[in-house]
Amino acid sequence: MAHPAPWQLRAARWIRPAAWAGGLVPLALIVAAGFTGGLGAEPIEEVTHRTGFATLLMLMLTLAISPVRRWTGWNWLAPARRTLGLCAFLYVCLHLAIYLVDQGFSLGFIVEDVVKHPYVTVGFAAFLLLVPLALTSTKASIRRLGKRWQKLHRLVYLAAGLGVLHFLWLVKKDLRDPLIFAAVFAALMLARLAPRLVAARRRPAPRETRGPVHP
C-alpha cells in the first residue's frame, strides 16, 4: 500500500464529524416533518417506520465501509464505521422506544407480541444483539477485549440479517423496499466471503484431493 495522498490525510481529519452529520440526517428529517405536519394522519406509525428504515440504512452503510476500504485503499474511512454503527443503535433505540409507547408500556402486550409474532421476535432479537456492540464501542473496550472484540462484533452480521428479515416479514404486500435491503445485505456479505473463497482456492489443495494421480 502506497502512502496516503495529502487529500486522504485531510479527509481522515473530517471523516468522523462528517459521518455524524450524515448519520443524523434522518433524525433531522423526522424532527422537521414533526414540526411541519409532514408525518401525516398517523404520526406514531410514520415515525416507527422512519426510525426502522434509518436503522437498516445505517447498518448497511456500516457494513459497506470495510469492502469499500479494501477496494479503494481508503483507510481514512475506518472511523466512519463506528460512528454509523452508533447511529444505527440510536435509531433502533428510538424505534423501540416508540414501540413501547405504542404498546402502552404493557409488559403483557409486549411479551405476547414478541412471542407470538415472528417479525417482532426477530426485530427484538436484532435489537438485543446490537446492545453489546454499542456498549463495547469505546476504545477502552477494544483494548480490553483484544481479539475477542473482533469476534463479538461479528454479531452485527446476524443483527443486520435479522433486521432485514424483520422488515420483509412485516410488509403486507409491497416488498420492494425490504427486497432492496435484502439485496444490498446479500451483496455486502458476498463482498466479505468472496475474497476468502478466492484465497482458499489459490492455496494449494491438500494432496489427496488434487485429482487423479497418473501412475
Partner: protein
Amino acid sequence: MLIRKPEIPSSEITPEATYLNRRQFFGAAAGALAASALPTSLAACTMSDAEAAQRDEPNSFEDITSYNNFYEFGTDKSDPARLAPRTLRTRPWTVEIGGLCDRPGRYAFDDLVRPHQKVDRTYRLRCVEAWSMVIPWRGIPLRDVIARARPRPGARFVEFTTLLDPAQMPGQRRSVLDWPYVEGLRLDEAMHPLTLLATGLYGRDLPAQNGAPLRLVVPWKYGFKSIKSIVRIRFTERMPATSWARSAPTEYGFYANVNPAVDHPRWTQARERRIGEWRKRATLPFNGYPEVASLYRGMDLRRNF
C-alpha cells in the same frame, strides 16, 4: 329505517387544540423520551379501554382524505391523495349490474343513485392493519339498489369489481394484487340495513382517494371489504374469489369480520389505534355493531375469518 346517525354528545368531542397538540408531539422528540421514562404516570392519566371505546368523534376531513389504502394508486397511504384526484375520471361513470337478477343493466352513475333516498351515516372504519377512523358517510342503502335489480332465488352472493384502467389508476401498472380489485358479500350481508353504497362524506361528493364516485361501506368488516370505485355489481351463486383472500388466503378471509379474538397471523387484532389518538383502544367484536351477529349464527368465525 331505524338506523340513524349516532349522536355524539358535545362533551365527548375532543377540543381542536388537544387534537392539534398530538401532531406536534413528535416535533418535541424530547417530550417523547421524557414520557418513556415515566411509564406509570402516563398510564395513570389515560382512560380505560372501555371508556375509549365509547368515544366516537368523527375524524377530520383532512385525515380521512389523506390517509388511504387504495392500492390502485400505490401502496403508500399518501399515494391515493397525491395521485387519484389528478388521474381518476369519475364522470361519466357507469355501473354494470348483472348476474343472477331479473333486471340487469348498465347504469349511468346518476341514474343508479338518483331514485334512492340519500342517508348520512357516521360509521367506525376498522382497517385490518389495526388502525381505525370514524367517518361521516353519505350514500344509499345497498339493499335498495339490490331490491331494484331483483336477484333471482339462486343468487347467494354479490360480487363487486373496481375499475381496471392503469392510465387512470397508475398503481395497477404493478401487479401488487391481481387487478381489477374484486370484493364480495353474502346476499344477506349485502341486504343488511347497515350496508351502504357511499357517494360522499362530510356532506360532499366522495373524493377520488376515498373511492369516488361509488364505494361500498360495510362497517362491521375490515376496511378492505369496502371496495372502492365500483364499476360492476354481479349476483352469483358461488362465493366470489375476492382479491385479498386470493392474494394471501391465510391472512385475509372472505368474511373479514372485525374480530378481536382472531389475530392476523402477523399481528394482534385485539387493539387498534383510532387515527388522531395516542393510546390504542380495545377492538370490539363486529367493530361495535353487534346487531349483525345474527347473520353468522352457527358459524365458526375462527375458521370463517
